[in-house]
């Protein structure tokens, strides 16, 4: 009876899920209650987790709960520690969830709500979650080896080098684009700028508290920091109303970009305990708190999604970024659906904490499901805005015009009515001077979140909610920026150490300063160009980031597919091979279009040529002519960079195919490096749940 009841329950869930997906997919012309999105996500996630993930764990990976994990065998009380699965889940989720799933879906909303929703849901359950789980499993079976090491051991040195270069490249582009998102949120906004600036001394206070005042009292210090952060949001409002103070924080984008670079450099050379570690505690607490708050607010308020299912911009003429629905929706929403970056977390830290292999499904697959859920909520927050307002906030001045009147006329002519008064009222409510051309996703998401929070918990505080949301996004964007710069520095020191061993010493001051400066100038360059680009920079940088991130995902899936085939599981190779094929198709198509398209808003070379012709003919206004040579150089550089990414991708795909072919033909291949089976002593008598 019980079994029938369970089956009935799953059947009901499947019907509900199908109804929800069908409802939001087939709806035309009416607004949709956001609860349908939540229902669709929960049903699809639950079914995928219960059936697909369980099947992969049992049949494809064959997880063995009697086998000792690296945490058990190598337990040293520090990095290898068998840990309760909920704790590992918390660590893993905090590490994988960054600003990506918030920004990507917001940008992709220019195609309408439907493409993004479908890709986030199905991309995650068939691709992203599988990648995370398989990588976690493989690394667990190899004493917590990193993706790069696994690629080198299992496929060959070519694969290892590709993984290393891929990781470094993606880090640089990621930091630049995230820096740009923060700069666009702060420019000419004394409230946002002062609040974000305040997070730096607050992090230092927390760091000193944990280090000197009450060593190791992480929770106390974080609670103190969280209170100070909330106060800084309120204090930002006072700064904004104070004539003398507000000018201190009222800056052009370029000035702010220099400050962000200076900050990144400082964060990379300062000791971790002073800035990086305390900031990370604060951002983790803020992130979890806000995500829970947003979920509660959406369920309570049940806002209506006003964006149409599809907009006319699926033809590639979108204002936020150019390019057709295929392949650009898949490139834009990288993190909420499948993110190569996660493979770096799933190989490395997390496997060293796993107490038992059976937790791999929950942590690898489940962690990514939750990230996908966050992406769905970000999509809801962006699409509950009036479409006109959404486009007014996100369209760069270079596309719709600098003056508010021109911008609203242009946006209204697309069929998304919006008026200057409406935007002015909204800006006033949010405590800002203007909300036009704040490209990048953070401000429109903040407006969306503020209106959801405002309606659920008090309308009078809209400006506070808006700046809270900006602070919340900025704090973990800056955390990614610090941590990324630091990781980039370590990688660079490691690489240079091969040439000149002294450079490899991570604590040698000249090496630290030199490599940090190099990494900061790497992303600083792209940030600088992004800020001076009248088309907003996001148009160029986000697709580049998406391509790099999907390339890294493809590398992880190549490692997974190669190992599956080498382990004699050819008949299951489609589990990772399918998503891999899809990623290769979308990444290559996107790269092809970014390189060869004649549309100047898509093709890098086309844009460079167009600008050179205009510059030579003297058709450019003086302020644009001044930056044109740099923009031309940058477009060409981006084209070559894209070509490089896609070549790295193809090299590793062919390397994987070569290894698989040799294995199937019975020729020698690099041996499997799986650690031999040792029985677990923890299984019996250890209460875990």
């Amino acid at each position: 009876m019980n079994k029938y009841l369970k089956n009935l329950l799953w059947l009901l869930l499947a019907v509900l899920g199908a109804t929800a997906v069908g409802g939001i997919a087939l709806n035309r012309g009416e607004s949709v209650n956001a609860l349908w999105f939540i229902a669709a996500a929960l049903c699809i996630h639950a079914i995928a987790y219960r059936f697909y993930a369980a099947w992969i764990a049992a049949k494809v990976l064959v997880v063995d709960e009697t086998r000792a994990t690296p945490a058990e065998r190598l337990d040293n009380g520090r990095d290898f520690v068998p840990t309760n699965k909920w704790i590992v889940f918390g660590h893993h989720f905090a590490a994988i969830a960054g600003p990506g799933p918030l920004v990507g879906p917001t940008l992709a909303a220019q195609f309408g709500y439907l493409p993004g929703t479908l890709w986030i849901l199905f991309g995650a359950v068939l691709g992203g979650c599988v990648q995370d789980m398989v990588t976690l499993f493989l690394s667990t079976r190899r004493d917590g080896k990193s993706l790069g090491q696994m690629a080198r051991d299992e496929l060959g040195s070519l694969g290892g080098a590709a993984a290393l270069i891929g990781t470094f490249a993606i880090m640089i582009i990621l930091i630049a684009v995230l820096g740009l998102v923060v700069v666009n949120a702060m420019k000419h906004s004394p409230w946002a700028t002062s609040t974000v600036a305040a997070t730096i001394p607050i992090a230092m206070i927390v760091g000193l508290y944990m280090r000197n005042f009450r060593p190791g009292r992480v929770l106390e210090a974080s609670a103190l920091g969280a209170i100070l952060l909330l106060l800084s949001v309120v204090a930002g409002g006072w700064v904004d109303h104070h004539e003398g103070l507000r000018v201190l924080f009222d800056h052009e984008g370029l000035t702010l970009a220099w400050w962000v670079m200076a900050y990144g450099f400082a964060a990379a050379i300062l000791p971790v305990w002073l800035l990086l570690a305390p900031r990370d505690y604060l951002s983790t607490f803020m992130k979890l708190g806000t995500v829970i708050l947003l979920a509660v607010a959406i369920v309570l308020l049940q806002p209506h999604v006003k964006m149409p299912a599809l907009t006319q911009f699926i033809d590639g003429t979108g204002p936020i970024f150019g390019g057709k629905l295929f392949p650009f929706v898949f490139i834009t929403i990288a993190c909420g659906a499948i993110s190569g970056f996660h493979a770096l977390i799933a190989s490395g830290t997390t496997p060293k904490l796993l107490a038992n292999e059976r937790d791999i499904r929950m942590i690898g697959y489940g962690g990514m499901l939750l990230e996908s859920f966050v992406a769905i909520m970000a999509l809801i927050a962006a699409t509950v805005l009036e479409p006109g307002v959404y486009f007014a906030i996100n369209s760069p001045a270079g596309v719709v015009g600098k003056e508010a009147v021109d911008a609203v006329a242009k946006i209204s002519s697309w069929g998304f009515p919006v008026s200057v008064e409406q935007m002015q009222t909204l800006a006033r409510q949010m405590g800002e001077k203007t909300l036009f051309a704040r490209t990048g996703g953070a401000p429109s998401l903040a407006v969306g979140m503020a209106s959801i929070f405002g309606s659920a918990f008090g309308q009078g505080l809209l400006a506070l909610w808006y700046h809270f949301a900006i602070m919340f996004e900025a704090i973990f964007i800056l955390t990614t920026l610090d941590a990324g710069t630091r990781v980039g520095r370590f990688m660079l020191q490691d690489m240079l150490g091969n040439i000149w061993p002294k450079m490899g010493q991570t604590s040698w001051a000249p090496s630290v300063i030199f490599t940090s400066a190099l990494v900061v100038s790497g992303w600083g360059y792209f940030l600088y160009i992004g800020v001076i680009d009248p088309n907003g920079g996001v148009n160029i940088l986000w697709p580049l980031f998406g391509i790099a991130n999907q390339m890294l995902a493809a590398i992880a899936l190549c490692v997974g597919t190669g190992i599956l085939i080498k382990s004699g599981k050819l008949k299951y190779a489609w589990v990772t091979g399918g998503p891999l094929l899809w990623l290769v198709i979308i990444t290559s198509t996107a790269a092809w279009e970014k390189i060869t398209s004649t549309d100047i808003r898509v093709g890098f070379f086309a844009a460079a040529n167009d600008l050179s012709t205009k510059l030579a003919a003297g058709n450019l206004p003086p302020e644009k002519a001044a930056v044109a040579p740099q923009l031309i150089f940058n477009q060409q550089l981006d084209a070559w960079l894209t070509l490089f990414f896609v070549m790295v991708l193809w090299v590793i795909v062919f390397d994987m195919l070569r290894v698989c072919w040799r294995h199937l033909a019975g020729k020698p291949v690099p041996a499997l490096t799986e650690t031999p089976h040792m029985p677990s002593l923890l299984v019996e008598g250890w209460v875990r749940d």
Binding site: G216, F341, A483
Partner: protein, 68 residues
């Protein structure tokens, strides 16, 4: 109810690293003390809370720890 809250609190402490030093002490008592450790030479001086926290934090931030 009270027990649940207690468990939740324990989890928060574990997740944030608030009880990392207590964990270390427990590990130390189990593995680096007593006759076994003396004979196979794995004894090491016990770290103070400050020292431990310093090492723990520095170690935590080597490598990729945060994502996009």
């Amino acid at each position: 109810m009270l027990n649940r809250l207690k468990t939740l609190w324990q989890m928060m402490r574990r997740l944030s690293g608030d009880d990392a030093y207590e964990q270390y002490l427990r590990h130390y008592a189990e593995h680096h003390q007593g006759d076994d450790a003396v004979t196979d030479g794995t004894t090491e001086p016990i770290l103070s809370m400050e020292e431990f926290f310093k090492q723990w934090q520095d170690k935590k931030w080597k490598g990729v720890k945060r994502c996009c």
